[in-house]
């Protein structure tokens, strides 16, 4: 799946679930500082992403996330490793 499509989806989820205005969200937006996404929001975001993409995000992985781009890369890597395991 291409990163831009994941980015668009993450942006929509941030708006729908965490009430972050979409137009303020860029690839480099800092979740905490720019978008006021706190640790509990991040848990919420992880849940939605896990359900939507059928992946598992470990708590340790989520802790390293700082930007929207980090979220996108984490999803992409999880998808790749999931599909790799499936093969």
């Amino acid at each position: 799946m291409d990163e831009q499509a994941i980015f668009e989806r993450v942006r929509a989820i941030l708006e729908e679930r965490l009430a972050v205005p979409q137009d303020g969200i860029t690839w480099d937006s800092l979740l905490k500082e720019d978008l006021e996404v706190d640790s509990l929001d991040l848990v919420n975001l992880s849940m939605v992403v896990e359900d939507e993409y059928g992946i598992d995000i470990l708590d340790g992985e989520a802790e390293d996330i700082r930007t929207v781009g980090d979220v996108v890369r984490l999803i992409k890597n999880s998808l790749l490793s999931r599909d790799g395991e499936a093969k």
Binding site: L18, A19, V20, E36, L40, V43, N44
Partner: protein, 416 residues
């Protein structure tokens, strides 16, 4: 202690003017429950607030992180502060106060019942990992007070009273003490509840506490009437701004009434039933008078707990007779729950507002639906229509499961 701002959020109206106009007109705020399908429950009516939009008071993100009871608390607090002449975001500046001199006390009987039920369903259906991380902060009853301090920047004492249906009156009483004893210069105090949920209705029905007069919602809450058959559950909030008379006068604030005293007691009798001898209720009303420096003969109105349950109305009547003796028969006593329904932990907040308005305008709100008085309920309950009477002092009663009793004493503000 001056009451300078009041914010009711009820099915009768949101804001002081619509609420008070409805009470004076003897209107009922009771209707069929719409937030879920109540068809299979014995009680299907409530004082449900149908047209409330929390985004009128909060941004969307904060709305999502809060249970409905906290939405009500914020709305009621904003309305009360505005009513007290305090501009939003500039409350402390206008009062010229350090943040730690401003306190918040909000009572709630249950807290975030909606959240608890919806998340328990998630747990059962999808397992622990899908339970909302905000479940605990949304659910715990103290979060209304916590959020108000965060939103307003009030860093003084911040408390939650959890004493069932007496929680609102206890909160106001504790607020009164905090300001009286110099712990704070202003206190935002009141009660809040949002428990019109399937589990709460089921549980109250199981106790046989709720009315089953579903076909006639507006006449279902009938305190002191021989045909009363239980209370009508309701939701909402009532918040008040309390400050010293001196402080209120210095800033030229309108004073609705003086909060003059507070009494507390416990029945030490039974988890839900009131003491048939009403000892706890007599004790707490007596304490309220004593702390206000009032004598029984000074009281011209009692806003009763008056739940419309067979036990409460009989026992509260007995308590008033024991305290006031023969004079009990000439004191107007009314239950505004006949119109609002029973707001549980918010009842004390909403009824303190009704009591203060009765003193301020010299108009006593009625007990509606009182058509055939119970022979054991033989006082003057202001049946049917509001009554114009200038009253010097009044009491507001609240009694909660667990035997918690609270009584607020107020005096009409006559100036200095």
């Amino acid at each position: 202690m001056a009451i300078t701002g009041m914010g009711p959020v009820t099915s009768l109206g949101v804001g002081l003017s619509p609420f008070w106009e409805a009470l004076k007109a003897g209107r009922s705020g009771i209707s069929r429950i719409t937030s879920f399908d109540p068809q299979n429950f014995p009680s299907r009516i409530a004082g449900e607030i149908k047209d409330f939009d929390p985004t009128d008071y909060l941004d969307r993100k904060t709305v999502q992180r809060m249970d409905r009871f906290s939405h009500f608390a914020v709305a009621a607090a904003r309305l009360a502060l505005r009513d007290a002449g305090l501009e939003e975001g500039k409350e402390l500046q206008t009062l010229n106060l350090e943040p730690h001199r401003a306190a918040v006390v909000v009572g709630s009987g249950i807290g975030g019942m909606n959240t608890m039920e919806s998340q328990f369903k998630v747990l059962m259906e999808r397992g622990w990992s899908r339970v909302d991380p905000f479940t605990i902060p949304m659910m715990i009853p103290n979060m209304a007070a916590g959020y108000l301090s965060i939103l307003l920047g009030f860093t003084g004492p911040n408390l939650c009273t959890v004493t069932a249906c007496a929680a609102g009156s206890h909160a106001i009483g504790i607020g009164y003490r905090l300001v009286s004893e110099g712990e704070a210069d202003i206190c935002l105090a009141g009660g809040v509840e949002a428990s019109i949920t399937p589990l709460a209705i089921a549980a109250f029905c199981s106790m046989r506490a709720l009315t089953t007069r579903n076909d006639h919602p507006t006449s279902a809450s009938r305190p002191f009437d021989a045909d009363r058959d239980g209370f009508v559950i309701a939701e909402g909030a009532g918040m008040l701004v309390l400050e010293s008379v001196e402080g209120a006068m210095n800033r030229g604030a309108k004073i609705y009434a003086e909060l003059a005293g507070f009494g507390m007691s416990s029945d030490a009798y039974h988890v839900t039933a009131p003491d048939p001898q009403s000892r706890g209720a007599v004790l707490c009303m007596g304490e309220a008078l004593r702390s206000a420096g009032l004598a029984p003969q000074d009281i011209g109105y009692v806003n009763a707990h008056g739940t419309s349950t067979p036990y409460n109305d009989r026992c509260e009547t007995l308590a008033i007779k024991k305290l006031f003796g023969e004079r009990a028969y000439s004191i107007p006593v009314s239950s505004t729950k006949s119109m609002t329904g029973h707001l549980l932990g918010a009842a004390g907040g909403v009824e303190a507002i009704a009591t203060a308005m009765a003193l301020y305008e010299g108009i006593l709100p009625p007990t509606i639906n009182l058509e055939k008085p119970d022979p054991e309920c033989d006082l003057d309950y202001v049946p049917g229509n509001a009554r114009q009477v200038k009253v010097g002092a009044a009491l507001s009663n609240s009694f909660g499961f667990g035997g918690h009793n609270a009584c607020l004493a107020m005096k009409a503000w006559e100036g200095i």
